[in-house]
């Protein structure tokens, strides 16, 4: 077993060796520009790009012509949200999203607000899921876009996307779905889920960083204003020379995901459950944040009450995880995702996100359980809150000198 152990698969994933192998020739021997139409170097590159496009399309039930290459999911989210808003603004200027979206969507929405658009930010339920009825109630005659992610990056909670998509479709509103955390992990089908625009990232599914895609529906046709002007690549949606090796890698990653996803989901879910049950056996006062039932296989988001998340991460530095604690951000505010779900601030400060994936092992999980057990107990021995609770003090009854 290699130390440190990587358990942060939501942040990024290692490139699968099979993906790397597929990419390598496109750096050195097949280095043509896919836009060079006049010679064999260009044709080879274009051929590879189109094969990759087929693979990505196949993974999500789309046709290849509906896939637009980007530099990653942040760009895909920006292009989808701003591009659709700008194209359809004559029809209306109202947009609907959820408070727990990724910052790439939320900040795009905020940018649009500054341009005169109006955005409704819906609250998720306490289990982290967005109630489709809330989407329906939020729609207005001037609503032009609904954007809701498939799986959340902090909690792994899976939203009822098919229903939300159906509501948007019936209302004639474009539906964008940031599917970065779910594609390759659980089934995602653009037709079954009534999705018009979908953001995809390669490096979250064992492909390389710096490449992503946006699915853009053709029937009924969804239109966008391009964010990037230039040579008119990608049918004018996204100018810029294509990252051929990256795209080849993303294609290979999509192929592997299509072939191995279901078996991998079973294996990773078993690891996740082993981790959860192991931690629960080892320690008391744990809370799993978000629905366990509606969750991507590799995610476990746990609050270790009375222990601060960053202190815990320092203590378990052999295991790479992340925390919703304020101390891991510069803002001094704990996770906005957990807060929007109604998780109390102290438990948000105490949260740890475990991300398991393709290369995680039982041995690593068992080591993690033991390490967390030991370190949480040590930090709780040091925690005045744990001492007070054990003495029977109700922390909610205390008037803290300075609650913000």
């Amino acid at each position: 077993m290699k130390i440190p152990i990587y358990m942060d698969y939501h942040a990024t994933t290692p490139v699968d060796p099979r993906v790397l192998e597929a990419m390598l020739p496109y750096f050195t021997t097949e280095y043509g520009n896919a836009a060079s139409k006049s010679h064999a170097f260009g044709w080879k590159a274009e051929e590879a790009v189109e094969a990759a496009r087929e693979e990505v399309a196949k993974l999500i039930g789309a046709s290849a012509k509906e896939i637009v290459w980007t530099s990653g999911a942040t760009e895909s989210d920006n292009l989808a949200v701003k591009g659709a808003a700008h194209f359809y603004q004559a029809k209306g200027k109202h947009l609907v999203t959820c408070k727990t979206e990724h910052k790439a969507v939320l900040d795009s929405m905020h940018a649009l607000e500054r341009q005169g658009f109006e955005v409704t930010f819906l609250e998720p339920e306490p289990d982290g899921r967005l109630d489709p009825a809330k989407v329906k109630a939020a729609l207005r005659t001037d609503t032009i876009l609904v954007s809701v992610m498939h799986a959340n990056n902090e909690t792994g909670v899976v939203h009822p996307i098919a229903e939300i998509g159906r509501i948007a479709r019936e209302a004639g509103v474009v539906f964008h779905c940031d599917a970065v955390q779910s594609i390759g992990k659980i089934p995602f089908d653009v037709d079954a889920m009534n999705v018009d625009l979908a953001s995809i990232s390669a490096h979250k599914m064992y492909g390389p960083k710096g490449v992503g895609a946006l699915y853009v529906r053709r029937k009924p046709r969804v239109r966008l204003v391009a964010e990037m002007d230039g040579g008119g690549h990608e049918r004018g949606f996204r100018s810029g020379t294509l990252n051929v090796p990256g795209i080849v890698g993303m294609g290979k990653a999509a192929e592997l995901a299509r072939l191995e996803r279901d078996a991998e989901a079973v294996r990773v879910t078993a690891l996740r459950e082993r981790l959860r049950k192991g931690l629960e056996q080892e320690l008391d006062l744990l809370t799993v944040n978000g629905s366990l039932e509606h969750r991507v296989p590799g995610n476990l988001n746990v609050s270790f009450a009375y222990v601060e998340g960053e202190a815990l991460m320092m203590a378990v530095k052999d295991v790479a995880v992340s925390s919703g604690s304020a101390c891991t951000s510069a803002s001094l505010e704990p996770s906005y995702v957990l807060r929007a779900m109604g998780v109390s601030e102290d438990l948000a400060h105490s949260s740890i996100r475990f991300g398991l994936g393709r290369f995680s092992t039982e041995e690593e999980v068992d080591y993690t359980i033991r390490l967390f057990g030991e370190k949480v107990r040590k930090l709780r021995e040091m925690s005045p809150l744990y001492e007070m609770v054990k003495d029977g003090v109700d922390l909610n009854q205390i008037e803290w000198a300075n609650p913000h």
Binding site: E308, A311, C327, E345, P384, H404
Partner: protein
């Protein structure tokens, strides 16, 4: 985040973790911060008849910097008089541990914990607290006003 060796040493080998009897008339207890802010420090001092702090213990809920800051001040206050302990400033703690800017509030909390512990001990002895703790943790505008936080952070 890159932390100084001293900070990591105090975090990994915290000094004086534990509790003193809060009902002992010679013990002063300071509890500052709030769980919602992600930091709570409990600092206890045991003061001898001639006003010297002969023992100090802490328990802290908070990040590594908060734990290290409290550990450090328990070492610093021991052997000092109560008046001397009150001269310890947050900037001394921040400099000693080389706290990054976003962690300065941890040192503010440590200074406040000393003030609160001393005030509690003074109260037990029928004296007016010589200084009032002014916990500003989590309150951005107060931190900015105190000059411990730059507005951009």
């Amino acid at each position: 985040m890159a932390y100084s060796e001293k900070l990591i040493d105090h975090y990994e080998h915290p000094r004086n973790v534990g509790s003193l009897d809060k009902n002992d008339p010679d013990v002063g207890t300071g509890l500052v911060g709030a769980p919602a802010c992600g930091d709570v420090m409990k600092l206890q001092i045991k003061v001898s008849d001639d006003g010297i702090i002969e023992d100090a213990k802490f328990k802290t809920f908070g990040c590594g910097s908060a734990i290290a800051s409290s550990s450090l001040v328990t070492e610093w206050v021991k052997g000092r008089t109560v008046e001397e302990a009150l001269t310890i400033k947050n900037t001394d703690v921040a400099n000693e541990l080389n706290l990054p800017p976003v962690k300065i509030h941890c040192s503010v909390l440590a200074e406040d914990a000393i003030k609160a512990a001393v005030a509690d001990w003074q109260k037990k002895h029928g004296r007016e607290p010589s200084v009032k703790p002014n916990t500003v943790q989590g309150d951005r505008s107060a931190l900015i006003e105190k000059g411990v936080l730059k507005s951009g952070i």
